[in-house]
Amino acid sequence: MFAQSLKMAWSAITSNKMRSFLTMLGIIIGVMSLVVLVSLVNGATGAVTSEIGSLGNDMISVTIRDDKGSPLRLENLAEIASDGAIAQVAPSGTMAATAKNGYSDASVSVNGTTASYYEIQGLELSYGRFIKTTDVDNSSYVVVLSYNAADELFGMDDIVGESISINGRNFQVIGVLAEDTSMMSGMMGGLSVYVPFTVQSRMAGQPYITSLSVAAANDTDTAQTAVENYLLKRFQQDEDAFTISNMSSISDAMGTITSTLSLLLGGIAAISLLVGGIGIMNIMLVSVTERTKEIGIRKAIGAGRKSIMMQFLIEALMVSLLGCIFGLLLSWGILSLVTMIAGSISFSMSLGVVGVAVGFSSCIGLIFGLYPANKAARKHPIEALRYEG
């Protein structure tokens, strides 16, 4: 009986392919938006999370907003670093500037820092060396270029010994970083160059440290507490004088944002699925009316309410599940395409989201099929037989 009902539903659906397709369209679009949006968010989250992980969770960033009359100087960093929980400390003063090499110029972001920055940030050189303590002490006009900056200014990266000008001053290139293929750098954009902190602070007219990175010796949280205590003491116990964060707190926040986002997008997609369900109900109601005579005939030759009910329910379910399958296939296509275009991130449908899509579509087929099916099942056989469409 069940197999027969499937066969009947199939023949009813295929007897009017265009209409069935249009009915399915709502579900197709709903499933597609659900699966694609959720997969995109998940894929991006996965990429960002692994990115943050690769940056190292033991890095702590501090930004000073109000120095309370006792600004932080380079000498003070040694005091912070003397704490056992802290491995290394580096300042980072940033300013925007124009870098020139002959006729080519570019807007760059100049980072003034010290030697320890290299390890704290986990940077990698492909040529030359990074800034040394002596460069900082002597305020040498030397610069380390990021791969992108070198590429922009020179069109190549083997340029150690060349010189460039930054805001009119001449700098000697002492090193070039390896190309950073991570998504983070892609997202941040911009061209970075690194110079000794003393040089940058003189150029920017900012002799104090407003931003620093700290590497923990062992445990990130103890290190963070140590930095916090030092700064609190220095800034008269004012917690608002500075902000301190580490990568794991950033990635936690990131996780919360993305899960909220995927819930939100999934919700919107679910609404479009709901609309698709209403489309199914609408067409099923039309179909039940059109097939009144058929229902009368079936009842006359012995179909009970349950059989009629089942027939129309299965039909509604089949329409929504077929729509779901088409939607999943299309989503798969779209995600493959996006993965191809995006390159570095791979977006895939998780089994979970497929399950949700299938489950939701079946529920919608059932719920919105129920009313038309019941209407069909309750038709009076004689009145149905007398119906002339």
Partner: protein
């Protein structure tokens, strides 16, 4: 009519009332009749006299407003809707004036349909379907759709569908009304054969000639049984 045959259909004062625009139409007005097992009965009457209404009640497609109807010794009021559907499926074979075939299905699928509702396994269904189609001489037209068949052939498919379940009662509402004389005669001789084979047949008609071929005639006028001969 032998004393041994038991009544299969008994109607007592059956009344069916329709309300059309506030006006009461008594399609059946206290009709009584008895039909025995194995009988070939014709119901005759002018148009609008309530013949079809009577057939619908006999066939459990409709229920009377008043009176008692016993099928096989059981009062119909005792059955639920689902049980009535099962009775229509197993005990009764309908043959409609307008064929009432499902146009999307082939002749074979149409004949098979009541067997599907009986939940028979595939092999049994195929066997019975083929036997029924053979009975009406349409074996070679099994894969045609109703629209590809002539009126007489369609009526034969409808008869095959009614026969497929081997019902206790065959109910035919003007089965020859839409057909020419020759085809009509063919159908009638099929009914004679079925009667000879022991089927109970109730045939509705407004043609005296057709009615006279039956064993027993019941005349209806204005919803009342006026004459049994």
């Amino acid at each position: 009519m032998t004393a041994a045959s038991k009544p299969i259909i008994t109607m007592q004062n059956i009344t069916k009332i329709y309300n059309i625009g506030g006006e009461e139409v008594r399609a059946l007005d206290g009709a009584s009749l008895t039909i025995h097992e194995g009988e070939f009965v014709s119901i005759i009457g002018p148009s609008g006299s309530g013949k079809s209404t009577m057939m619908n009640i006999i066939g459990c497609l409709d229920v009377a407003d008043e009176g008692e109807y016993m099928l096989d010794g059981q009062s119909i009021e005792q059955y639920s809707e689902e049980e009535l559907a099962r009775i229509r499926n197993k005990k009764i074979g309908f043959i409609f004036q307008s064929f009432n075939l499902l146009s999307r299905m082939t002749a074979m699928e149409n004949v098979e349909l009541p067997l599907i509702y009986q939940r028979l396994p595939v092999e049994a269904r195929k066997k019975k379907t083929n036997a029924a189609l053979e009975r009406v001489g349409l074996t070679d037209r099994g894969h045609h759709k109703p629209t590809e068949l002539s009126g007489g052939q369609q009526q034969r498919v409808a008869i095959a569908r009614a026969l497929a379940t081997e019902p206790a009662i065959l109910l035919a509402d003007e089965p020859t009304g839409n057909l020419d004389t020759k085809t009509g005669n063919d159908i009638m001789s099929l009914f004679h054969e079925l009667h000879a084979a022991g089927n109970t047949i109730v045939l509705i008609t407004h043609s005296e000639e057709v009615a006279n071929q039956a064993q027993c005639r019941i005349r209806i006028i204005d919803g009342r049984v006026t004459e049994v001969e």
